[in-house]
């Protein structure tokens, strides 16, 4: 079954200046997709449209073969069953780590607690369960943010520059850990990044966006090959970031 399908999606904030042009993509259950591109290319907008935080100008978004957004329908963000991880982590500062992870989980308190604890253990941050976000490191915060997004068992996990503010060694470690957890739990995920290494080490599929248009798509291996051969422009932008 197709977990996510986007058909001919375009979007603009100012008429005549499209942020996204006729973007189409398909993602199967359990697959990990990376959306690559330089800053301002429209990749975050695409993620926000999938999450329902923006309404596309035209085109459609389907999840599990059902329309969740097109000209006539809009399923609200809170009803899409999507997990979101952002670069800033956005942990709720007034809640403890365990309460953050329990936040979106339904069921009895005991069930919610055990779900949250299981995820915290999975990400090896269970010892901070009763600490507040400002009391743990940025790498630990990012683990908690991913755990929180996974806790309600979302159909798709969206990650916007998830390792953007972390140092290189921590990023490498988290990439490996996160991919393993996503694969072990058969979670469909989309990672938005401007970093080739994120895409190579984490995803099954990659699309490259430039000026709102998909310029390359394929498996991670294909993209690496094509990019090395052809995509000089994006590489130079990447080198500057």
């Amino acid at each position: 079954m197709t977990a996510l399908e986007i058909k001919d999606l375009s979007h603009y904030y100012v008429k005549g200046k499209n942020v996204l042009n006729d973007v189409s993509l398909e993602l199967d259950k359990g697959e990990i997709l990376s959306i690559l591109g330089p800053s301002g290319c429209g990749k975050t907008t695409l993620l926000r449209i999938i999450a329902g935080l923006e309404k596309e100008t035209s085109g459609s978004v389907h999840m599990n073969d059902q329309i969740i957004s097109d000209h006539y329908h809009t399923v609200l963000t809170e009803n899409r069953n999507i997990g979101l991880v952002v670069q800033e982590r956005a942990l709720f500062p007034h809640l403890t780590i365990i309460s953050n992870v329990m936040f979106g989980v339904s069921g009895s308190k005991t069930e919610r607690h055990s779900t949250a604890m299981r995820l915290l253990k999975l990400f090896r941050v269970d010892r901070y369960a009763y600490n507040y976000p400002n009391e743990i490191s940025s790498g630990e915060q990012q683990r908690v943010a991913i755990a929180r997004a996974m806790a309600p068992n979302p159909k798709i996990l969206l990650m916007d520059e998830p390792f953007g503010t972390l140092d290189q060694s921590l990023t490498n470690q988290l990439r490996v850990e996160t991919r393993k957890i996503l694969k072990d739990n058969n979670i469909t995920a989309i990672i938005v990044s401007h970093d080739f290494d994120d895409a190579l080490s984490m995803s099954d599929k990659v699309i490259v966006i430039e000026d709102g248009t998909v310029i390359q798509s394929g498996s991670a291996k294909d993209i690496t090959h094509i990019s090395r051969e052809k995509s000089v422009k994006f590489s130079s932008i990447k080198a500057n970031t």
Binding site: L53, G83, L84, E88, G104
Partner: protein, 537 residues
């Protein structure tokens, strides 16, 4: 098209806030009575001239005092500098009418100051050392030394953000320290000064208590006289409309000056100012320049109030005082709570819906702070009278006009801007990505507000309540008009005693007003300290 609670509430609030002002302005299109002709022929020129003299005099004095002291405490290190930094805001706790009462008590022919000098130098009763204060120059001094902190605050914030490199560039181009101040320092923060000055002028033209006590004919005293002396509400409204038009012009200037404020702040090139240590005569001069406004605007009135309270009325915490204080506090708390809740709802609506029309609507809601309390009171009174006659009179007369509803409504309209700006700045500290994540975790609308935003806005909410309480407690003209029968607040209690020249009895409520007025000053002081760019380095 479906509208939700978050879209309808700002519109409803807008209608309620605008209606009283519209009622007053609408009077300009009605008939003009004989009283209007009388006012026009005999007193209108005096109202305009007196108001203009006051505005001109106060503007000059507050600019000199406010900007001068702000420059000194920001750029120099001198005796008492660390205390002056926050103490220069203290006069904000003293409403102009209380300074006016204490000034007359101090400087009248047989006031405390003249009596003291006669006693010390053994002079006769015919000897008067201080000039009369119940006149326009006296009022200029009163307004200037209670309102200069508005200019001081904005100037100080702007000077703090001024980069050392720009001022040093001036020095290398041959400017001395004083030239650097008036040729570079002041022009760079001109928009901020104008913004502060407009607030001062708004307060000056809206005042009733001080000018009434000094028997100076201005627009506000004229409106009162026309309404309660000539019993002509229509002409009073027409007169108030002129004042309102002037206030609207001031709002526009203030908004315009804020729009241009950015050029004074080049944060990317920011280097904190280094303080110059003053010694000898310059040190003494700087000390005196900063001490004088605090002495006149705060220490002197507070000392006089305590002198009255302790020497003449030791039992000032009587039943009357307690009842009045209770009335004041519960009214202020209701208004503050309403203001804060409305500010949260409106600011949440803007953030949640992100519509531009909600932003525009919200900025209209905040202009109530500039509408003189007197005008608001007339508009609210007329609106409630209409509702009483149209809907409620079948059951009983004066249900709305005889209640505290009008008073609370006027307070809310007048003080909403304080709450809104406090809650808005609280919201600016909450990353909008928190909302995005919360929504993906199935939390939206009321749940998002209650579970995520409110806990994070706790401090802003409390600050908003304190600011409104301290503002409402000082309010006089609207309270005088809208209070129910036999219902006094501390400000009214003070006004009535002062009007009867029973200054000693006015001491207790005045002290209570000043004490509560200190709350926002403590908050402001903390905010200034934490917002200082240098402290982030």
């Amino acid at each position: 098209m479906r509208f939700s609670f978050w879209e309808i509430t700002p519109v409803a609030l807008f209608i309620i806030f605008v209606a009283p002002v519209a009622i007053v302005l609408f009077s300009l299109t009605g008939d003009y009575s004989e009283n209007w002709s009388h006012l026009y022929q005999y007193v209108l020129t005096r109202y305009i001239l007196n108001t203009a003299y006051l505005v001109a005099g106060v503007s000059i004095l507050v600019t000199v005092v406010g900007v001068g002291t702000a420059w000194l405490v920001t750029n120099y290190n001198f005796t008492g500098k660390n205390i002056f930094e926050w103490a220069l805001i203290l006069p904000l706790a003293v409403p102009p009418y209380i300074l006016a009462y204490t000034f007359t008590g101090l400087f009248d022919t047989f006031g405390t100051a003249n009596n003291l000098i006669r006693d010390v130098f053994d002079l006769g009763r015919e000897f008067t050392f201080f000039p009369k204060v119940r006149n326009v120059p006296g009022a200029i001094v009163v307004f200037s030394f209670t309102l200069y902190p508005y200019v001081y605050l904005v100037s100080r914030m702007a000077f703090i953000n001024q980069s050392r490199t720009m001022l040093e560039a001036g020095r290398t181009l041959g400017l001395n320290k004083f030239q650097t101040f008036y040729k570079l320092g002041v022009p760079m923060i001109r928009p901020a000064i104008i913004g502060g000055l407009m607030l001062v002028i708004m307060e000056t033209i809206s005042d009733f208590g001080a000018v009434d006590h000094f028997a100076i004919s201005t627009f506000t005293t004229g409106v009162f006289r026309t309404w309660f002396g000539m019993y002509d509400i229509e002409t009073a409204k027409q007169l108030a409309s002129l004042l309102l038009i002037f206030a609207v012009i001031l709002i526009l200037i203030e908004r315009y000056s804020r729009r241009n404020a950015s050029y004074s702040n080049a944060m990317s090139l920011y280097k904190p100012l280094s303080l110059t240590k003053l010694k000898g005569v310059p040190n003494t001069l700087a000390f005196l320049i900063c001490f004088t406004p605090i002495f006149i605007g705060f220490l002197l009135p507070v000392m006089e109030l305590f002198y009255w309270a302790l020497n003449y009325k030791l039992d000032f915490f009587n039943d009357k005082f307690i009842t009045t204080a209770w009335n004041t506090f519960y009214l202020a708390l209701i208004a503050a709570f309403l203001c804060s809740v409305l500010a949260v709802i409106i600011n949440f609506s803007i953030r949640y819906r992100g519509n531009n029309y909600l932003k525009v609507m919200s900025s209209f809601l905040t202009v109530g702070y500039a509408v003189p309390g007197l005008i608001l009171a007339i508009g609210v009174m007329q609106m409630l009278t209409y509702f009483d006659h149209s809907f409620v009179s079948k059951f009983s007369n004066f249900v709305l006009t005889g209640s505290i509803i009008g008073l609370v409504l006027a307070y809310v309209i007048k003080s909403y801007a304080l709450s809104s700006s406090t809650i808005e700045s609280g919201y600016q500290r909450i990353n909008s990505r928190v909302d995005d994540v919360a929504r993906t975790l199935k939390t939206s609308g009321w749940a998002l507000l209650a579970q995520v935003h409110l806990p994070l806005l706790k401090t802003s909410f409390l600050t908003s309540i304190l600011l409104v309480v301290s503002e409402v407690i000082k309010e006089l003209p609207a309270t005088l008009i809208l209070r129910p029968f036999n219902f006094d607040t501390l400000a009214v209690y003070t006004y009535i005693y002062a009007a009867e020249e029973r200054m000693y009895d006015a001491a207790a409520p005045s002290i209570a007003i000043v004490m509560v007025g200190l709350i926002p000053i403590i908050i402001l002081t903390r905010m200034i300290r934490t917002s200082r760019p240098a402290s982030r380095d």
